[in-house]
Amino acid sequence: MNERVENHPILGKAKHGKELTIYFNGNPISAYEGEPIAASLAAAGIKVFRYTSKNKEPRGIFCAIGQCTDCVMTVNGVPNVRTCVTLVKPGMRIETQKGLGKWKKKV
């Protein structure tokens, strides 16, 4: 699945950063340097980013500008990362977050 807008009547051809690989629940996904995690996931057709703690309901992108915290996920073992404003890095491990998430390491 590729949801990228490669050509646009006003903006022209998309100018991507360097291609890199991130991992979504262990599966490799291609991403571009300079874009937030949420964009790479949405481009791959992924919509569910986390499940709520009480009712286990799915949540995804809502505001896309770092205000609402609906899109938080566990990134490299750190829970509650706002994926719409956190840029991808090569080899990043992104996991669907359950509830408030768990810290891998004791802090």
């Binding site: 807008v5 964009a39 481009a43």
Partner: protein, 364 residues
Amino acid sequence: MEKESIKKEVVVVGGGPAGLSGAIEAAKAGARVTLIDENDRAGGQLFKQIHRFFGSSEHKAGIRGYDIGKQLLQEAKDLDVEVMLNTVVWGIFKNGLLGIKRENKTEILVAKRILIATGASENPLSFPGWTLPGVMGAGAAQTMINLHRVLPGRKIVMVGSGNVGLIVSYQLLQAGAEVLVIVEVLPRIGGYLVHAAKIRRMGVPVLTSHTILKAEGKNEVEKVVIAKVDKKFKPIKGSEKKLKADLVCLAVGLEPLAELCWMAGCRFFYSRILGGFVPLHNKNMQTSIPHLYVAGDVSGVEEASTAMEEGKLAGIAMTESLGYISHQEAKKKKNVIQERLLALRQGPFGEERNQEKEKIYEIF
């Protein structure tokens, strides 16, 4: 706290059209200006606005939002405005103290004048299924397609026919998606009819007196039910229509992002027309706390063009109060801007906002 603080002269919080314009104006007058933005680039929501602006030439009409953004960033750079990016202002205290966080470190700044230009956030709308992935703000969808160049959905129901709903619908078409319908609960279209005509010509129906009843789907939006409403906005039984859709965009207004003003202890005023609680301010954009100014959507939700003018007003007033420009010169400059603001606040939508602003100045 004051001892360890970093001394600044004018601090602007938020680098959108209002903040940038305020920073530029203050720097032009000779003040040392620091602009703080939590994103990795300033410009606020200008860079996702790919349409040409309305108004007359002094309001930058005919120029696309992102080009205005580029112009403002260049001007700020040319004037040596200090720009702190990826920096969050998490607190505001007495005597001009600001708590900031950058690179996971907390620092305290102390400023002589502060301009809060934090903008607004999109209103949600609750209905069964509104929390499902695939229901998002219209502005969020706009960010995804125009900035990140990714479609968050392909078959779309737009809720709300104000200018945001109409413009974002058109831009979703430009990005290659299908907009099934725009529903508007009022009996008339909310935004400029020229935008509505443009989208209708593309074959998108704008259904007035219609609302969304629910979004259905197991893990994400799969179906959307819309219905006609009566004069009391109650859904009419039997008028329901079920559509196969994967994205619901909510364009139901914005609310000022005024947390810092609340924290600072500003006096507020509730205005339905301006989007909710707004910090009281005078024509200089000064709040009830003398060294604290506001501009743009945080002082009442309007448009980018009015935000830029308000930012300029604040920039001039702050530097006037610091003695950089004479009262006479400031008055002349401010009068010109006030006239431009008045021109922007005309027509069926503008007039209401103008009256509301006048009310706020009066109460202040």
